[in-house]
């Protein structure tokens, strides 16, 4: 029996499911690329720092007073207690608002919400992780978890794609991971620069470079929609069973806990039933437009 974080109780701490977010201080900001930064948050309430737990793949609603809330994945290791990383791409009102607050300022947090990566499906399997762009953020806690429980599964492969070498998230960490013998890391970029010696092209091209033992493989995908589709499709083509392919989806979110209706995806509420879905559960709608 795998002992994993998911065995703990993930209900948001009291008060965090309502509409008054709890305060967290931005204690560090780490630039990742031209429009993405990792914000390390620490709850103002010390006891919450201790008690707050999350499952890799879950997200928080981050709040800027007077502006709004945005769903942001928790990107730190589930074993890093007391400080939570959120890797944020500045795209609109809330995300830019968080950026303006700066180190020492406070943001509001509600969460954790959603269902994360199914850690109990990994025993004895090859694990292939596919990330694109900002999609690496919710995969990072998973990778940290896997590195702690490395003996539970067989091979672990990370395939990551982004626009250019400068766009890579967690560049230093990627380097460190690449040096490990218990983790195969392949990074590809759309546009290389003169220093880039790795592969160029879309992330699904990397599939040619690895051997996939279909029946024995569990796949975790998070990226833009085109990548999610292409990756899922490619692995199904390789005969990975649909029940072993997991995709994290993105939808407009307002409440985060299955009430506001915004994130509906067919019969699912992505915030509550996802964001991580088993392909077998969404096979009827995954390839359809505008669901």
């Amino acid at each position: 029996m795998i002992q994993h974080v998911a065995d703990m109780d993930y209900r948001p701490p009291p008060g965090m499911g309502g509409w008054l977010p709890v305060e967290a201080t931005i204690v560090n900001i780490q630039p990742e690329n031209f429009n993405t930064r990792t914000f390390t948050l620490r709850f103002v309430d010390e006891s919450l720092c201790e008690s707050y737990r999350f499952e890799p793949g879950q997200f928080n609603m981050l709040f800027v007073p007077g502006v709004g809330e945005a769903a942001i994945s928790i990107s730190s290791s589930p074993y890093q207690i007391g400080a939570l990383d959120h890797t944020i791409r500045m795209v609109g009102a809330v995300t830019r608002g968080i950026d303006r607050i700066g180190v020492g300022g406070i943001v509001g947090v509600r969460g954790p919400f959603g269902r994360g990566w199914p850690l109990h499906k990994l025993a004895g399997k090859d694990v292939i992780i596919v990330g694109g762009g900002i999609g690496l953020a919710p995969l990072r806690p998973l990778i940290h978890w896997l590195l702690r429980h490395r003996e539970q599964c067989r091979r672990v492969v990370l395939l990551y794609g982004c626009r250019s070498p400068e766009d890579r998230l967690y560049a230093a960490e990627l380097e460190a991971w690449s040096g490990r013998s218990d983790l195969d890391v392949l990074v590809t970029v759309d546009n290389a620069d003169e220093h880039w010696t790795g592969p160029v092209g879309v992330v699904t091209n990397l599939l040619r470079r690895i051997k996939v033992n279909a029946e024995q493989t569990v796949v975790f995908v998070c990226g833009p929609r085109v990548l999610n589709r292409a990756a899922a499709w490619n692995f199904l083509q390789l005969h990975v069973p649909p029940a072993q392919v997991y995709v994290s989806l993105e939808r407009n979110m307002n409440c985060g806990f299955g009430r506001c209706g915004h994130c509906q995806y067919g019969k699912h509420f992505v915030c509550r039933d996802g964001p991580v879905f088993c392909f077998a559960d969404i096979a009827d709608i995954f390839a359809k437009e505008e669901i």
């Binding site: 009291p14 008060g15 499911g17 309502g18 509409w19 008054l20 977010p21 709890v22 305060e23 201080t25 103002v44 800027v64 007073p65 007077g66 502006v67 709004g68 809330e69 795209v91 609109g92 995300t95 406070i106 509001g108 929609r225 993105e250 939808r251 407009n252 307002n254 409440c255 009430r259 506001c260 209706g261 915004h262 509906q264 067919g266 019969k267 509420f269 009827d284 709608i285 359809k288 437009e289 505008e290 669901i291």
Partner: protein
């Protein structure tokens, strides 16, 4: 509140007994909400006297059409539901959730949780009781959250205090199809009291202990068998003259196969994506919580408002725009949610057959017609004509 089985206790309430009923409810601290005539529609509004309840009017409803006409001044409830439903009160269109100030590194709430009103709904219809039952499931009536500010908690508290006095429909509106949905025209459960209008009073049925306690204070007598028979006949006639019909057999399964149906495009050519259907629907529950800032006082507000899946921002995703960018996709989401995926989510149909979305659609799109067409498509044959549904429009005298 424990409900005794409906139909056990029947009484006759004289027409003049409505006034004392309103009085007793008000005395007990209830805000009495009843159908009133306002701006030429029937609107659910607070009343202080039974005189304020709409009477002597008939409604004429059809796709995109709503009119009131004068009727026998003695008849009271011979009209169907207006645009309003109890949803307006149990799940208000706009609800301030919390206000806060930022003091140092803390958010200080400066507001009290929303006050919980005590409503007595008088004259709501069987379909509206059914809609309340649907929303009870949506908001998890039995559940318990820690904060009143939670979307569901306001509903639960208001709902638990509410008293429901139903009126059975003896003259269905022109867009009703409650008989198809198994929700009307007569209320069979979920009410405290129900009334069936007779010539000079009402056949009153007690549906709960609270209803029985209320009944004990009214001037009731045992009904004659003629009165009971007349009430039955009127309801049977209403059922027989239901103007619209939706064949629900296998409907969910049929709709599951309709994602690629060509008929969505056909509806989209007419649909204005105005969202009226979702606003008037007594079961739609979507909302948006939006933030505001008092420019001068430093108080930040969080307000919940009804939202419609027909709006652009509903499915908006930064970077790529709305997920459902076309009207066809939005109408498809709406209809399939109401009649199909709602059942997966909450174990009941999201439609109770009240007909509001048909009446208040500016172009008169009729979901009973659209649902009949869907999923009957033969590949290559294009859109198929709609099989004739049972019943005709405005069949009652």
């Amino acid at each position: 509140m424990s409900q005794t089985s409906a139909g056990d206790q029947k009484y006759f309430l004289p027409r003049a007994g409505l006034e004392p009923l309103v009085g007793i409810l008000r005395q007990r601290g209830y805000t009495v909400l009843a159908p009133t005539r306002r701006d030429e529609i029937i609107a659910l509004a607070p009343v202080e006297s039974a005189d304020q309840i709409a009477r002597g009017v008939h409604d004429h409803q059809d796709g995109g059409r709503y009119r009131l006409t004068q009727a026998d001044p003695e008849v009271m409830f011979e009209y169907g539901p207006g645009a309003d439903s109890p949803k307006r009160y149990l799940f208000p269109p706009e609800l301030p959730l919390v206000e806060l100030r930022v003091r140092g590194n803390r958010f200080i709430p400066t507001s009290q949780p929303p006050a919980i009103a005590q409503y007595a709904f008088l004259g709501i219809r069987a379909c509206e009781l059914a809609a309340i039952k649907v929303q009870d499931r949506v908001f998890g009536l039995e559940g318990q959250d820690t904060l009143c500010a939670d979307a569901a908690e306001y509903y639960r508290r208001t709902r638990r205090r509410a008293l429901l006095i139903a009126v059975n429909c003896t003259r269905p509106g022109g867009t009703c199809f409650c008989a198809s949905m198994g929700t009307g025209p007569a209320a069979t459960e979920g009410f405290d009291l129900s009334l069936t209008e007779l010539r000079d009073g009402f056949l009153l049925t007690v549906g709960s202990q609270a209803g029985a306690a209320l009944g004990a204070e009214l001037d009731l007598r045992a009904p004659t068998s003629a009165e009971e028979g007349l009430a039955e006949m009127k309801l049977a006639a209403a059922r027989a003259h239901m103007p619209r019909h939706l064949d629900t057999r296998g409907l969910k399964e049929r709709l599951e196969q309709t994602i690629d149906d060509p008929n969505w495009e056909r509806v989209a050519a007419r649909c204005l994506s105005c969202g009226n259907c979702t606003m008037v629907c007594p079961t739609c529950f979507c909302f948006t919580v939006s933030d505001s800032s008092g420019l001068t006082d430093g108080v930040y507000g969080r307000t919940r408002r009804w939202e419609s899946c027909f709006s652009h921002q509903f499915s908006y995703v930064a970077g790529s725009g709305p997920v459902r960018s076309t009207i066809a996709a939005r109408y498809r989401h709406w209809l399939r949610h109401k009649l199909c995926t709602w059942q997966d989510q909450f174990g009941v149909s999201g439609c109770v057959g009240c007909g509001r979305c048909i009446t208040w659609c500016p172009v008169g799109i009729d979901l009973t017609e659209e649902a009949q067409r869907l999923g009957r498509h033969v590949p290559g044959a294009g859109a198929v004509p709609i099989p004739k549904a049972g019943g005709t429009k405005e069949a009652l005298p």
